[in-house]
């Protein structure tokens, strides 16, 4: 169907692909895996016409082919679905689905009735039940991804390339996606599937190709390959070593019977959180379980002062925290690694150095003047400690791989010397190697006496990483698992029971996602309306508190 022979691709200073052979057969789902920088993206871009090979050839139906542009590749039946959704948010769902090939009536105008009908029919197959006349942005990220998928597939694709399609989907949607993939396979379509999630590869893929450092190190049926073998191929590490250390890098539990370093009680944010309470002891990792939109992200954001609270109080190491101010939270020793690394975490245009130092700049300055030598010292320490791979500390962070971006963020927060670390999906979208390093680091930090709150959609990670797991649903705590109860089974059941009930509450308008139907704009300061009974439960912080934080300024 689609193949490359002896493919070599060079970039200034880098050999991105080195003599790679790769064949995609009709009717197969082919997994492509490798660490970031292994050459996956480059290979995909050659296959889809973004890059041209330096050496070697591209075969399409056995004939040498050269796609001059991505459009030419599309014309040849090769569709690509990227990690991030690439649609027009303000246009209706139906328009997005049919963009560029809208059904026309006899006056050569768009036949809206037909377009809406067809769109609704198509999307139903993808598990998206919505009014297709609504603007796309009102849908959740997962549903948007489904629309993108439906669009890509409906252009009569013979080859579908999926680059981490599940990174923003929730489990139910992943199942739907797999259903679609299986139907594509049955119809003889070739699917190239890129993902860091091993579960998914085993669930849906037939064959696997492993890339490492630009070379192909393995191709074969995935069923014949044990998980650990796969990981060791990818990392180039010995199987025994991987087996001994486990698939994730979390070590033993670190229970500590001390007083809680973080004690949050009765956190309430209108429409988002309802009386969520959470305590973390030094050296303890508390997992937050639940589906997308269950209030996990809101909980940590509220603790970190990024969401104004209608009610509730937060105590850090015995001291009450002024809520609703990120600066106050950081000053008290709370650091949040946000879920959306690209838009809320890094400063993409600024250097590694600035990204690490900026949050604690007042500490690295005297009388408002920045001390370059102190910055260098701290940056140097963390680049080495976290093994951040950058060409120099002056390289813009936007150019780094996802894993290294995440390490830079971790460095930023560790430099702030926190007492409590709130980690929202710390390993999402980063490669296996970096993932292991991050997991190991979390472990070490907890051992060092830090209180950690861990949010992860990766159940394995949540279970192995957490000493305790608090399960949320619809913005409230439903269950707490501790000790031997922290098992995949118990967690699944706790979440699943939540999911069942959530399924009846209609279309998913998760507060986790901007643009969710019921979402209240977080920036507006939410002029109150806390339920009357809750006004006295804590210092009500609304708009004014939110505004104060800028005047509050730097940390002590």
């Amino acid at each position: 169907m689609l193949a490359v022979r002896g493919l070599t691709k060079r970039f200034p200073g880098v050999l991105a692909l080195d003599d790679v052979d790769f064949t995609l057969r009709p009717g197969e789902v082919h997994a492509l895996i490798g660490e970031n920088g292994a050459g996956k993206s480059t290979l995909i871009k050659v296959l889809t016409g973004v890059y041209r090979p330096d050496e070697g050839e591209l075969l399409h139906h056995g004939e040498p082919a050269a796609f001059a542009t991505p459009l030419a590749a599309q014309g040849a039946g090769i569709s690509t679905i990227y990690q991030e959704v690439n649609l027009v948010p303000l246009m209706s769902v139906a328009r997005n689905l049919h963009l560029g090939r809208e059904p026309l009536n006899r006056f050569r105008l768009i036949d809206f009735a037909r377009m809406h009908r067809e769109a609704a029919d198509t999307l139903r197959e993808y598990g998206v039940h919505t009014d297709v006349r609504r603007p796309l942005r009102e849908l959740g990220v997962g549903a948007q991804q489904m629309v993108a998928l439906a669009r890509a597939v409906s252009v009569n694709a013979r080859v579908v390339v999926m680059d981490e399609p599940t990174s923003s989907l929730e489990p139910r949607e992943v199942e739907t996606l797999f259903g679609v993939i299986r139907r594509l396979r049955a119809a003889g379509v070739a699917v190239l599937y890129v993902s860091h999630r091993l579960d998914e590869l085993y669930a849906v893929c037939d064959r696997v190709t492993v890339l490492r450092d630009g070379r192909r190190v393995h191709t074969g049926p995935i069923a014949e390959l044990e998980r650990l073998e796969l990981v060791s191929l990818m990392l180039g590490r010995d199987i025994g070593e991987v087996r001994a250390e486990g698939a994730t890098r979390f070590g033993a539990d670190h229970s500590a019977g001390r007083e809680p370093v973080l004690d949050a009680a009765g956190l309430t944010v209108p429409h988002k959180l309802h009386e969520v309470s959470l305590a973390v002891r030094p050296g303890e990792v508390v997992g937050l379980g639940g589906l997308l939109g269950s209030g996990r992200t809101e909980t940590v954001k509220a603790i970190a002062g990024a969401l104004p609270l209608a009610a509730g109080r937060v105590t850090v190491a015995g001291r009450p925290l002024r809520t609703g101010s990120t600066a106050a939270a950081i000053g008290a020793g709370i650091s949040l690694l946000p879920e959306d690394r690209k838009s809320e975490g890094i400063w993409p245009g600024l250097s590694v150095r600035e990204n690490i130092a900026l949050a604690i700049l007042p500490r690295l300055s005297r009388a408002g003047l920045v001390s370059e030598s102190r910055i260098d010292a701290i940056v140097d320490t963390f680049v080495r400690r976290l093994r951040i791979k950058a060409s120099s500390p002056r390289q813009p962070v936007g150019e780094l791989s996802g894993g290294n971006q995440q390490k830079v963020l971790l460095a930023r927060w560790l430099a702030a010397e926190p007492k409590v670390l709130l980690l929202d999906e710390p390993t999402r979208g980063i490669d296996v190697g970096a993932k292991a390093e991050v997991q190991k680091l979390i472990d070490e930090l907890a051992e060092g006496g830090l209180g950690v709150v861990l949010i992860s959609s990766d159940l394995e990670e949540l279970i192995e990483g957490s000493d305790r797991v608090v399960v949320l649903r619809d913005g409230a705590v439903v269950e707490e698992l501790a000790g031997d109860d922290v098992t995949e089974d118990r967690l699944m059941r706790a979440i699943a029971s939540a999911a069942e009930e959530a399924a009846h509450t209609g279309p998913r308008a998760g507060p986790d996602e901007p643009g969710g139907g019921t979402a209240v704009p977080a920036e507006s300061g939410v002029p109150g309306r806390p339920p009357a009974g809750e006004r006295d439960t804590g210092p009500a912080r609304t708009g004014s508190a939110h505004e104060k934080r800028s005047r509050e300024g730097g940390r002590s």
Binding site: T48, N86, I346, S365, G368
Partner: protein, 332 residues
Amino acid sequence: MTTRTAEQATAGLGAAGPPPGAARRAAATAWLQTYGVYAGVAVLLIFNTAFTDHFLSAENFRTQAVQVAPILIVALGMALAIGTEGIDLSVGSVMALSTSLIALYLGYGPWLALLVAIVGGIAVGVLNGSLVAFIGVQPIVATLALMVGAKGLALVLLPQLRDVRDEGMRSLGSGDLLGVPYPALIALALVLVVGFTVRRTTFGRQLLAIGDSRPAAELAGLPVRRVLICVYVCSGVLAATAGFLATARLGASDPTALGNLMELSAITAVVVGGTSLAGGRVRIAGTVAGAVLIQLLTATLIKHDLPPSWTQMAQAAVIVLAVYAARERGKR
């Protein structure tokens, strides 16, 4: 699909960079964005040396330096605002307000008049900054409101032209130190101060962080609102100072004309100097060169007897070129 992939290519996801052809083009535009303004200044200097009478005279250089000073000073403030992914359209009106206040208070001496003018600039800056930082009005809208408001106030305070009779003030506009005119010296000093502020102070670093990603800055606990207000205050103070120098040079306060279209010249100087409108970067040296470029362009066209309308068209062409160069290096 094509734009998306192009974005991916420039974003350099994974280990991959853009393909060689695009890489060469990107490198060329990058060069143009960074050094194009210096090349432009050089070209104009060479052209004028060859074809303009009396260009290489000390007197001419003094004139050019005096004329470029206000543009440059205003452009410095504009560069700060643009660095935060904002803009300040009110600078021209602040100059007008400044000249009105100076006319009213010059009786108490030039320094007190300057002080009052600067207070006016601070007031406008605080209003601009508060609208942007607290109310969340888009900078272009907030400063547009102040642009109209401040101009109105200037005309209420001083409805028509008034001559400057203060000798100290006049000598500031025309005097010099070791042959360098005072306005140029003041502009140079301010360049150094602003450059130092951007590079070496926490305020400067935080400003760039806000421009690069405001959500990240808020989550990282930076004093976002305070910095934004400071930025617009700086811009207001610089514009008021520019108004003071322009008044001194002209020997008259004319709020109907002073500062007109200054915001456009300042934005041009900043953008041509390689500061991206997407924020997160401030190029002070480039801004200086940008202001000089505009001044030389105007002077060249005037000296070759072309009507002033040509200057505006030439400026437009330069802006288009600068924005084109900035295009491929814009934000992801």
